[in-house]
């Protein structure tokens, strides 16, 4: 069976790639498009390290087939900073020391961005439940939640 030829938009850029049916979007991003910011922690949708948005919807890229991406708009961690400017979430993750080893960080940032786009004024509980699919083993979540809450305040003030 020939590979699928897929055209999609990744971080605003038109891309095309070939993939086997069984290759996931995460495989394609990492191995074919060399966007290794999305991480594979479990390959079963339980850790969130591979979080991306697909047409604006937060998903685990390990649970999407590469061939499902045709004609879709994908945003990854690599597209989060604009030019020289970090996204406010990225900046506050640094300021709050909201990362230790950093392996889960891209997934948390992509997920938190999706949260704040829908819920600009989340409660701590909303932040915690929204991010429950992103595992972090280093921080105990405290500084991550603080960074997200603080970013929400700052972004509301504009």
């Amino acid at each position: 069976m020939a590979k699928h030829h897929i055209e999609a938009v990744v971080n605003g850029d038109a891309v095309e790639f070939l993939c086997e049916t069984e290759e996931t979007l995460l495989d394609v991003l990492r191995d074919t498009l060399h966007l290794t910011g999305s991480k594979e922690g479990c390959a079963s949708g339980d850790c969130g390290a591979c979080s991306v948005t697909l047409d604006g919807r937060l998903v685990c890229s390990c649970l999407v087939l590469g061939c499902e991406a045709g004609g879709r708009r994908i945003e990854t961690i690599e597209g989060m900073a604009k030019g020289e400017a970090l996204h406010p979430l990225q900046q506050r993750f640094l300021e709050h020391a909201a990362l230790q080893c950093g392996i889960c960080t891209p997934g948390f940032l992509v997920a938190a961005k999706a949260l704040l786009e829908r819920t600009p004024d989340p409660t701590e509980t909303e932040v915690r439940y929204w991010l429950a699919g992103n595992l972090c083993r280093c921080t105990g979540y405290d500084k991550i939640v603080s960074a997200v809450m603080d970013t929400a305040v700052a972004m509301r003030k504009g």
């Binding site: 086997e20 079963s44 949708g45 685990c60 087939l65 061939c67």
Partner: protein, 286 residues
Amino acid sequence: MRYEAPESLEGAVALLAGAPGDARVLAGGTDLLVQMRADIVDPELIVDIKKIAETRTVTEEKGAWRIGAAVTGAELKEHLRLKKVWPGVVEAANLIGSTQVQGRATLGGNLCNGSPAADSVPALIAAGAVATVAGPQGKRDIPVEDVMLGPRKLALRKGEIVVSFLLPPRAKSSGDAYLRFIPRTEMDIAVVGAGVSLTIDGGGTITAARVSLGAVAARVLLVPEAAQAIIGSRLDEAAQQRLEAAARAACRPIDDKRGTTEFRIDIAGVLARRAASIALDRARTS
């Protein structure tokens, strides 16, 4: 491994019916992809049904609601009118996995994965939902409680696809609720799940009810005895105790890594009662 994404039901049915080897329907993929990765399934053909319009829409039909089998949990959550009428069904769908999984997981997939612990299934059964199935012989309707026969075993014939679910018109003063027990707050498979849908009269007496339990037997159970235990009551203490006892009596669970037999039976009673209480509150304020 072939991948097809037909735009018509007929196309999908033809592909599935004509597949020489194992063929799988891909809706949200949150179970299928995991099983492929774990070498549990190795299909020859994958039929993605998300391009078929009927699987992707939520429509009101004379007071009834039809939900496409490939509508995601996240989309259901954003459907405010549906959520108002069937909060328990929407909540149950929203308990499947994380926010990320919600972006993909569907009611059709949750049912057809064939797990007795599927979160949305007890809620659908309690709601009296009917699955509309399309196949080589055309369409047919199956009550949701009859779709699953046992773990990974469905009453679907080769080539058949669950297209949508029909939630019946809602009597006034009705409410539904779904609760599940997990050790954590998120991300676990239900150790026990309980769905309750009920209707009350002007005096607050329960006139109709359906109770469904998940993860306590080889398939999700509809428990008429549990419903009978509260019909005619105002969910007073005695009715609550009858409900708990009836729910527990229906359980035929297994011991596994997620919970013991004894624990599951205990919890089934607790959750049935708590879900009934929430459903009752909703009926009162609906």
